[in-house]
Symmetry: C2
Subunit: 305 residues, 2 copies
């Protein structure tokens, strides 16, 4: 079993959807990645920062899931990163209402000694320089470095993003962001251009329309499971990434063939994430439920010609 290190935010979210709204609840890319990865029983550590206001119960929940939180710094002088957003009726677009960086503003990630030899490194959506500083701290080159990013960093730190991209194996990015990064409308052409920027593997997330995996000419597609109700899309992309990395860590196989399974597992877990507000569904999710829905994915996509 491989060791997984996830860097990302651990945060408060307040979410409004057509189905209801929440007060401040647990959120953050690092949280979702780790919760998804915990489904595979792999040794998972999180590097992040929270403020004095962060409830110990959240950390305890993570411990109970086998997640190592030694890398989550508690900044006694600050408040936890807070994001508030409202989803539109189509659930595909949202408005950010509040973004309070708080302790994230001065965050300098420190990788705990026992995770400096992690086999898989998942760099969640953070400033590209922060992502790079984590790579710098690794005692040995990880077998696989996966990076997630967003349009915000393309707008304000494009050069730094290009620098860190040269050092990663896999990028996960959504379709609009892939278009922005490359200037190519066709996702096939966008993936080709991203290959030349560094990542040998490109995962383009299309939300309810699934995800594409590219590897220098090869291509694989995982649909999103069509659901009767999407309750809250928050964290679906990070859950996808966590499922992807967790599966690869568990199987210790980073071949393209096995990455196909990894994107299916990622899609499978993401389909649960959206069923309830925030992390609620991922916290209660059982291995049996995951396995059962995996059959649904096979039925949805497999054919005999």
């Amino acid at each position: 079993m491989n060791k997984l290190l996830a860097v990302g935010t651990v945060a408060f979210d307040a979410i409004e959807t057509p189905f209801g709204k929440t007060d401040k609840i647990l959120g953050g890319s690092g949280t979702y990645v780790a919760l998804a990865a915990s489904q595979f029983g792999v040794e998972t550590g999180v590097v992040s920062v929270v403020g004095a206001d962060f409830p110990a119960s959240y950390l305890e929940m993570m411990h109970a899931k086998g997640i190592n939180t030694d890398g989550i710094e508690i900044d006694k002088n600050g408040k936890t990163f807070f994001w508030s957003g409202k989803y539109h009726n189509d659930m595909n677009s949202r408005d950010s209402l509040i973004t309070e960086l708080n302790v994230l503003e001065t965050f300098t990630p420190v990788v705990p000694d026992n995770f400096k030899d992690a086999d898989i490194l998942m760099l969640g959506n953070l400033h590209p320089l922060t992502q790079a500083s984590v790579i710098d701290q690794m005692a040995k080159k990880p077998k696989l470095i996966v990076l997630d990013t967003m349009n915000f960093w393309m707008d304000i730190a494009l050069e730094d993003l290009h620098t860190v991209l040269k050092r990663v194996d896999v990028i996960t990015i959504n379709d609009e962001e892939a278009r922005q990064l490359t200037g190519e409308y066709s996702l096939v052409n966008a993936a080709k251009k991203i290959h030349t920027m560094g990542p040998k593997y490109v995962v383009i997330k299309k939300g309810e329309h699934g995800a594409l995996l590219f590897n220098e000419g090869k291509m694989f597609f995982a649909p999103a499971l069509p659901l009767a109700e999407v309750f809250d899309p928050t964290g679906a992309g990070d859950t996808f990434a966590g499922g992807f990395c967790g599966y690869l860590a568990k199987t210790e196989d980073i071949s393209f063939e096995n990455m196909k399974n990894a994107v299916i597992y990622g899609s499978n877990l993401a389909s649960f994430c959206v069923e309830k507000f925030g992390t609620e569904r991922m916290e209660s999710l059982t291995a049996d439920e995951v396995k059962k829905r995996l059959y649904g994915f096979k039925a949805l996509t497999q054919f005999q010609i």
Copy 2:
């Protein structure tokens, strides 16, 4: 081998895309359905109407493909249906610039005697009353009736549409139209509602995002092949429907399991259709090319868990 009858428009299109523009070229739902079905070597007839201005060479091209055009009435006193449209940069949306119904305005379809026993009846996008009148003319109930429609008929002839829907087995419809017809945003819920309107099988076309097949609780998904360039999307949906019907006619098997293959074949053919303007690519398409790309579809979607 089953006999296939397709009812639809045979028309002139003038198309503008970011890649260029055409004068009046061959188009129409009946044309695309028949060209796609001709890939399967099944006996295919088209019921439609054209005007005196319709070139004999187009009919000859269809004959060369083995398409029976006895049901294409030539109205010497009228002009052929003409549509002109311009696609936006994303190729997913378009503006209709000109729609001249011409001979279509008074079109009363007449099914040729030798196709009144067709096994599969494809009712292309026409007024629901026109679609119903074709069903009325069949000497025996076809094994499978497939209906395509669009938002236009929901706006002006919803009651007639509901009446004909009760008589069909399969509906092909795009995602926005499925939402309009049912008032349900979720496509899973939309398909459920459409089942109660008549069709046991619901195919929801999502353009570049693939197609979903529903059959009372069962669900299958065929992606669209991601392409480096989509040159002209005109006719892709009808090509999909023609491939779907043609495959079912060839294999004489209308089970849900075989319909999965049929939607894959439909997606496969549609991926060729968009590579050139109008019908050009479908006219030159060879069985070898189809077969080769089918392997691409398998590689794109099949996984081993």
